[in-house]
């Protein structure tokens, strides 16, 4: 058997190796967290497109604040919510680079709504990787703009009361109304099938950017076992059973195909 392959259940399978665009480093993420999966998906896409040297990633304030340490391409750490503005500055200075922001729900859908909406409206030729896990992870699990109605968090200890604090924001639906958006898709990471679909969405978004077609966003429904106080398998089940019904998966905008789903 070749060194890069091994036999699994009678089939010759490629050996599972580290994506080239990832550093050989242990991450600080909690066990079972999907950030590692997302980092890997991005790195695999960058490897497949052979654009590592041409990529600049913009990392947020939040759990992924140290993301630039885990990748082999250039990284810029932005202030809370401002990643799309920082990415705009990079892209306008270096239009032929692949520039993406990596943002959580607190970063993007609360403090950074202004920046993401206007980057999208301008048709800024960048990609936003939006990690929606319904909670502020890094600060210890406070209620986020995407926290589900009734969901308990550190700052909604009795469950999110929509009478008092209103409703979650559906970012893909909201941004798909903007003409500057070339591509918007929501995917989930709760099982292998959906993880594969998530990778395809990221690749599509990056390709659209490299073709110069405008703003693209991939929203990934993700977990937070620590702050949800669940085991990793239970957290994946929770995504499927609670998040997917509230945040339906699919392509919300594909300017090429004329798809606009609101």
């Amino acid at each position: 058997m070749a060194r890069l392959c091994r036999k699994v259940m009678g089939k010759i399978m490629p050996k599972f190796t580290r994506a080239k665009a990832l550093e050989d480093k242990q991450t600080h993420y909690c066990p079972g967290c999907t950030h590692g999966v997302i980092h890997r998906l991005i790195a695999e896409v960058i490897d497949e497109m052979d654009i590592e040297g041409n990529t600049v990633g913009v990392f947020p304030v939040g759990c992924a604040v140290l993301g630039y340490q885990y990748v082999k391409f250039d990284g810029v750490q932005a202030s809370h919510g401002r990643a799309p503005a920082a990415a705009t500055g990079i892209k306008r200075a270096k239009p032929d680079r692949l520039v993406f922001t990596y943002q959580g729900d607190g970063d993007l859908a609360a403090i950074g709504t202004g920046e993401v909406v206007h980057a999208a409206a301008r048709g800024e030729n960048i990609t936003t990787i939006f990690v929606n896990n319904t909670i502020y992870g890094m600060t210890g699990g406070q209620m986020a703009p995407t926290t589900l109605p009734g969901q308990k968090t550190q700052t909604s200890p009795f469950g999110r009361d929509t009478d008092k604090v209103g409703f979650p924001i559906r970012i893909c639906e909201l941004l798909s109304t903007l003409d500057g958006v070339a591509y918007a898709e929501r995917v989930s990471l709760h099982d292998v099938k959906h993880i594969n679909a998530a990778k395809k969405a990221i690749k599509k978004a990056f390709e659209i950017q490299m073709e110069g077609k405008g703003f693209s966003i991939v929203e990934l429904l993700s977990n937070c076992p620590t702050n949800w106080a669940m085991t990793p398998p239970d957290s994946l089940k929770w995504i499927k059973e609670n998040m997917v019904p509230y945040y339906p998966l699919g392509v919300y905008k594909d300017a090429e195909k004329g798809v606009t789903q609101r």
């Binding site: 590592e52 040297g53 041409n54 990529t55 600049v56 913009v58 604040v65 140290l66 630039y68 340490q69 990748v71 082999k72 391409f73 250039d74 990284g75 810029v76 750490q77 932005a78 202030s79 401002r82 503005a85 920082a86 990415a87 705009t88 500055g89 990079i90 892209k91 306008r92 200075a93 270096k94 680079r97 202004g114 920046e115 909406v117 206007h118």
Partner: protein, 351 residues
């Protein structure tokens, strides 16, 4: 050299383009709108980018990203807008990135007035964002100085890896004066920097641009290095102008617009036989302490004139170590004091 009659705000924009500024990000606010207007009409024809951001916060973070790629860039704003930018300026400084920021002061606090003011001296010299931070701040007093300082600021920002502030005010921004410009370097390619996060292209190790330093040792070291650079800047670039101080009984200290009025007041006082000299800090941060002490060698009293309740006066007191009586005259609310008011104050000082 050929002179052109130009508004301060427009002259700053032209100077920036000539200095090789490739990107300008801004947000409208009076009294500095001519900077953005001038840029929007011209910079793209000379190889640059103008973008009107969604807010001052957006604009300063665009500067952060642009500066991270090693590209020359500038933003401008006025008091409430500068307040919004300070978080971003702190990040830019914390990540050791070069940028030029033009602050055209108006009266405050709050929305205040669109009239000129010098009430943001503390903000510029002490508090351009959170954290242990000192930034170079130039205080022009003419449209020509706005041009010269903007040109120089781009070079110094890259040499000292820091945001550099041009602290003007609504009067300097709005008034027209004849100015001459240096070489037009707008077509020249920018420098490339080993630290820039502009895609490694397989030719170098990756670069990380960040102000995050979670380990105390690492943060302390970075702050110390930054302050060492500021000390070096202090040695090489602290600047001031002293006029008629050799025999002056009273030295009047003022910067920017106020210093122009003080100049007239001095001439009026001299013609009455009162021995007055003037001292003008050209860099307000670092403050020209030695030059002030030198200028006040024979002085019996010092008068500080500002378009505020008195902010620079603190630096004057510290520089002179409270050894001389220091008086203050200020106007607020957008008023620019007239020379007669200052003369009246000088007459009453009885030396």
């Amino acid at each position: 050299m050929k002179k052109t009659l130009m508004k301060g705000n427009e002259a700053v924009a032209e100077a920036a383009i000539r200095a090789g500024c490739k990107c300008y990000f801004g947000y409208p606010i009076t009294p500095q709108n001519e900077v953005g207007a001038y840029m929007s009409a011209r910079i793209h024809k000379r190889g640059g980018v103008f973008l009107q951001a969604e807010s001052e916060i957006g604009a300063i973070n665009m500067i952060y990203g642009c500066a991270a790629t090693g590209t020359r860039c500038m933003t401008s704003s006025s008091s409430p807008g500068i307040s919004l930018k300070t978080e971003g300026i702190s990040y830019i400084a914390g990540a050791d990135l070069p940028a030029v920021i033009v602050s055209v002061q108006r009266g405050g606090p709050g929305l205040g007035t669109i009239q000129p003011s010098q009430a943001d001296y503390y903000q510029s010299t002490r508090a351009m964002g959170h954290g242990d931070l000192r930034l170079p701040v130039f205080a022009p007093y003419s449209v020509q100085e706005m041009v010269d300082m903007t040109t120089e600021a781009f070079e110094l920002a890259e040499e000292y890896l820091t945001p550099v502030i041009i602290l003007a005010d609504g009067l300097l921004g709005q008034m027209m004066e004849p100015v001459s410009f240096g070489d037009d370097n707008s077509e020249k390619p920018g420098k490339s920097f080993s630290w820039a996060a502009d895609g490694h292209m397989g030719k170098r190790e990756k670069n990380e641009i960040t102000s995050l330093r979670l380990y105390s040792e690492e943060l302390e070291e970075s702050v110390n290095k930054r302050f060492a650079r500021f000390e070096k800047f202090k040695e090489n670039h602290t600047r001031a102008e002293a006029v008629n101080c050799d025999d002056a009984d009273i030295v009047v200290a003022a910067y920017g617009s106020a210093s122009r009025v003080v100049q007239s007041a001095m001439e009026m006082a001299r013609s009455e036989g009162i021995k007055v000299g003037t001292f003008r800090p050209i860099t307000v941060s670092p403050f020209p302490e030695k030059a002030l002490r030198e200028a006040c060698k024979v002085a019996k009293k010092v008068l500080v004139v500002e378009m505020s309740m008195g902010q620079m006066i603190d630096d004057v007191k510290m520089a002179l170590e409270y050894k001389l009586p220091i008086e203050f005259y200020g106007r607020q609310g957008g008023f620019v004091p007239g020379p007669e008011e200052i003369l009246e104050k000088i007459r009453g000082m009885k030396v």
